[in-house]
Symmetry: C2
Subunit: 373 residues, 2 copies
C-alpha cells in the first residue's frame, strides 16, 4: 500500500484529540497573514494586594509586558514580569520585543529554531525572551489541542502545594497575616535580618505548618549559617534558599555538605548553563521562567537537575495567571513550588492555573489553559 497521509489516517483511524470536543473548526484568518506569526505586546502594571518588602526596597506595583502571538486566527498569550531589582523594564522589553521578527517563520512548531533566534537577538532580556517563549508555547499547545502538562506526559493531580510568603513586619501583623494564610500548607519567610529568630517564633506561636526560609544571600559566615540551619530544623523548617552570597561558592558547598536541611540555589543561577555549576554547591535549584527565558529552557533545567540527582523548586515573580500557568505546567515534576504570584495581585486580566486550598490547580485546556477575563 502506498504511504500517503490520507491513507495513513484512514487505515489507522488517527484523529486529533481536539475532535472529541465536538465543535466545528473555524479558522479566522482576517487578523494575520495566513501562515505568518505576528507578535504584539502591551505594557501593564500589576497592583499588589499588600506592600511588597525586600531588604532593600518596598513597592505596591510590578511592571509587566503582556504579549500575544497570533497565527491563523489563534492567539497564544505570554508575559514578562519585571521587578525593578532584576534590571529589565517596560522600556527595555519594548526595545527588545520590537526587534523580534517572527514573520520570517512559517511554522510555529519549529520552536527550537524560533527560540534560538529570539535568544540570539541580544544578551540578557531574560523576561522579555520568556514573554515570547510563553506565548509560543500557548499557541503551539492550542494548535496541538492539548495542555503542556499532557504534552510533557505529566499528571495534573501531582501538582505541588505552593508556599505563601509571610512578609516581614511587627509581631502583631505577622501573627495576623499567618492566620489569614490558613489555606496554605507551607509558608515562606524571608530572612537575613536582625529579627530572623523572632519572625520564626512569632509564626510558630500561631501555626505548626511546614515553613521554608529564603535568606536571599543574607548570611555571610558559614558557621553562623550552619548554626542557624540547625536551629531552623528544630523549628520545622523544610529548606533554606540561597543562604549565603552566590560568590561564596566554597562556603555554600561546605554548608550544603554539613546542612541537615536542603539548600536551594536562587540568585546563584539563571539559565541552563548555570545548572551544572550548582552541582555539589547546593542541594537544589530554584527555576524561575523570568530568569531562564521561559518554558523550553526551564523544562530542560528541570530535567538536567534531576539527572544530576538534585532537587528542584519552581518559583515566580509577581505575575498574572499567564506566567503562573506556564510554570505550573511543569510543576508535577518539582519537589517544591513558590507560585503565589497571581494570588498577590488584584488586577489579573486572566483566569488560569492558580492555588486552590494551597495546591496548584491545572486546567484541562489547550496550551497554558488561560483565558482573558
Amino acid at each position: 500500500m502506498k504511504l500517503s497521509r490520507k491513507n495513513f489516517l484512514k487505515t489507522t483511524g488517527v484523529v486529533a484529540a481536539g475532535l472529541s470536543f465536538g465543535i466545528t473548526p473555524k479558522f479566522s484568518i482576517n487578523k494575520s497573514k495566513a501562515g505568518k506569526m505576528r507578535l504584539t505586546f502591551e505594557p501593564y502594571t500589576l497592583q499588589l494586594k499588600h506592600v511588597f518588602t525586600l531588604s532593600t526596597s518596598s513597592r505596591t506595583t510590578t511592571p509587566v509586558m503582556l504579549t500575544q502571538i497570533e497565527y491563523e486566527g489563534i492567539v497564544g498569550y505570554g508575559e514578562a514580569s519585571m521587578p525593578p531589582y532584576l534590571g529589565e523594564s517596560q522600556e527595555t522589553a519594548t526595545k527588545f520585543l520590537s526587534k523580534v521578527d517572527l514573520s520570517q517563520f512559517n511554522d510555529p512548531f519549529k520552536m527550537d529554531e524560533i527560540l534560538a533566534y529570539v535568544d540570539s537577538i541580544d544578551v540578557g532580556n531574560a523576561a522579555a525572551k520568556a514573554s515570547v517563549d510563553i506565548a509560543l508555547h500557548d499557541l503551539v499547545g492550542k494548535l496541538i489541542g492539548q495542555p503542556w502538562f499532557k504534552i510533557w506526559g505529566l499528571d495534573k493531580e501531582k501538582t505541588p502545594y505552593t508556599s505563601y510568603t509571610i512578609g516581614i513586619d511587627t509581631p502583631d501583623v505577622v501573627r495576623e497575616k499567618t492566620k489569614e494564610a490558613a489555606e496554605f500548607k507551607i509558608l515562606k519567610v524571608k530572612m537575613g535580618r536582625e529579627n530572623d529568630k523572632e519572625m520564626i517564633e512569632t509564626i510558630r506561636s500561631v501555626t505548626d505548618v511546614p515553613l521554608c526560609v529564603d535568606v536571599n544571600q543574607g548570611w555571610t559566615d558559614k558557621h553562623f549559617a550552619l548554626d542557624m540551619i540547625h536551629w531552623l530544623k528544630e523549628k520545622g523548617i523544610v529548606f533554606v534558599e540561597q543562604p549565603m552570597p552566590k560568590e561564596q561558592v566554597d562556603d555554600n558547598a561546605w554548608l550544603t555538605e554539613q546542612s541537615p536541611l536542603p539548600t536551594i540555589a536562587d540568585e546563584a543561577l539563571q539559565r541552563l548553563q548555570d545548572v551544572i555549576k550548582m552541582y555539589g554547591v547546593y542541594s537544589a535549584i530554584n527555576i524561575k521562567l523570568m530568569k531562564c527565558t521561559g518554558m523550553r529552557e526551564g523544562y530542560k533545567m528541570l530535567n538536567l537537575a534531576r539527572a544530576l540527582g538534585m532537587k528542584v523548586m519552581i518559583g515566580c515573580m509577581t505575575e498574572t495567571s499567564v506566567a503562573i500557568s506556564a510554570a505550573t505546567q511543569m510543576s508535577p515534576l518539582v519537589d517544591w513550588a513558590d507560585l503565589d504570584g497571581n494570588i498577590l495581585i488584584i488586577n489579573d486580566p486572566f483566569n488560569g492555573a492558580i492555588a486552590i486550598d494551597g495546591k496548584m490547580r491545572l486546567l484541562d485546556l489547550p496550551g497554558l489553559g488561560v483565558e482573558k477575563k
Copy 2:
C-alpha cells in the same frame, strides 16, 4: 465570563491541528475496553541483507519483538531489537512484557507515571522496556495528531545524514561494498583488528567521503590509540567511537584530552544516569534507544549531554522502521547519526523514517509516522 472548556474554545477559536486533515472522526472501540490500554507483542525475526560480522561472531538474522498498545481503537507500534551479545532475547522479552499491566492506567498521556512503572518492574530488560516506550509514544503522538519531532519543536529539514557501515572483508569485497554505498555521505568502519590501516586504505582507494571509525573497545594502549587517531585524522576520519575498553576511564579521558578527533562513548554508557560519568572522559555520547529504555529517556540524555557541552550521536541495532523512526524523531538535534538499521534488512514489516540519499527522512504523520506495509 465563566471559565469552561466550551466557552474557552469558542472565544479563542482553538481547534486541533488534526482537523485540517478534513476527515470525519471515527473511533472504533470494539477491540479494546474503552479507556483502557492493551499491550500485545509478537516475536519476529529480521533477515539481514548481508552477513553481519563483529570481532567475535557473525549472523544473518536479528531477533526482535514487535509490540502494540491499543487504546480506544488507536494503535501505537513499538519494537525491541535484541542482538544476542546484549543479553536480551525473545524469551526474556516475553517474560518481561507478560508482567506489564497497562490496564491500570486510564490515560496514555501520563507517560511519566506509566514509564516509571514499566521501569520498576525489573532491572535490565532495556530493549523490552523500549518496546513499550516506543509504542506509547506512537499512541500518544496519534492521540495528539502530531509527529514527535513537531511536539519536540524540531525541524525535519535538519535531520542528519546517516553513516553506513562497511563490513570487514577482503580488499576486493570492501572496494565493491564501498562503491555500492555511493549514496551515503558518511561511511563507518569497524576497527580493532590487525588489518585496520589496510581497511582504511582500501576504502580510501575508491572514495573521499568522510569516514567514522568504531573501535568497539579494541585498543588497549593509550599511546597506540593516540598514534592511530593521528593517522586516522590524516585519512579524513571525523570521529572515533569507543576507542578503548570502557573500564579504562583514566586512559579514555587522557585520550580525549589529547585527541585531534572527537571520541564517542558507546559501550561505556547505557542510560541517563551514566551520561554525567562520560563528562570529561569522552567528547560525545552515542544514544541507542534499545540500551536506554526508549525515546523518553533518550531525549533526556540528549538534552543532558548538550547541557554538559558534549556532542551527541544517535545509533541503532538492526531494527525495523518502527525503532528507526522513533530514533529519527529526535535526530534533528544530534551531531551524527548511525541509523542504517532498517536499510540492512529485507523483511521490514513497516514503512517509516528511512535514509534517502543518505539523509534521514521524517514524515509529517502523527506519532512515529509508521504504517504497516
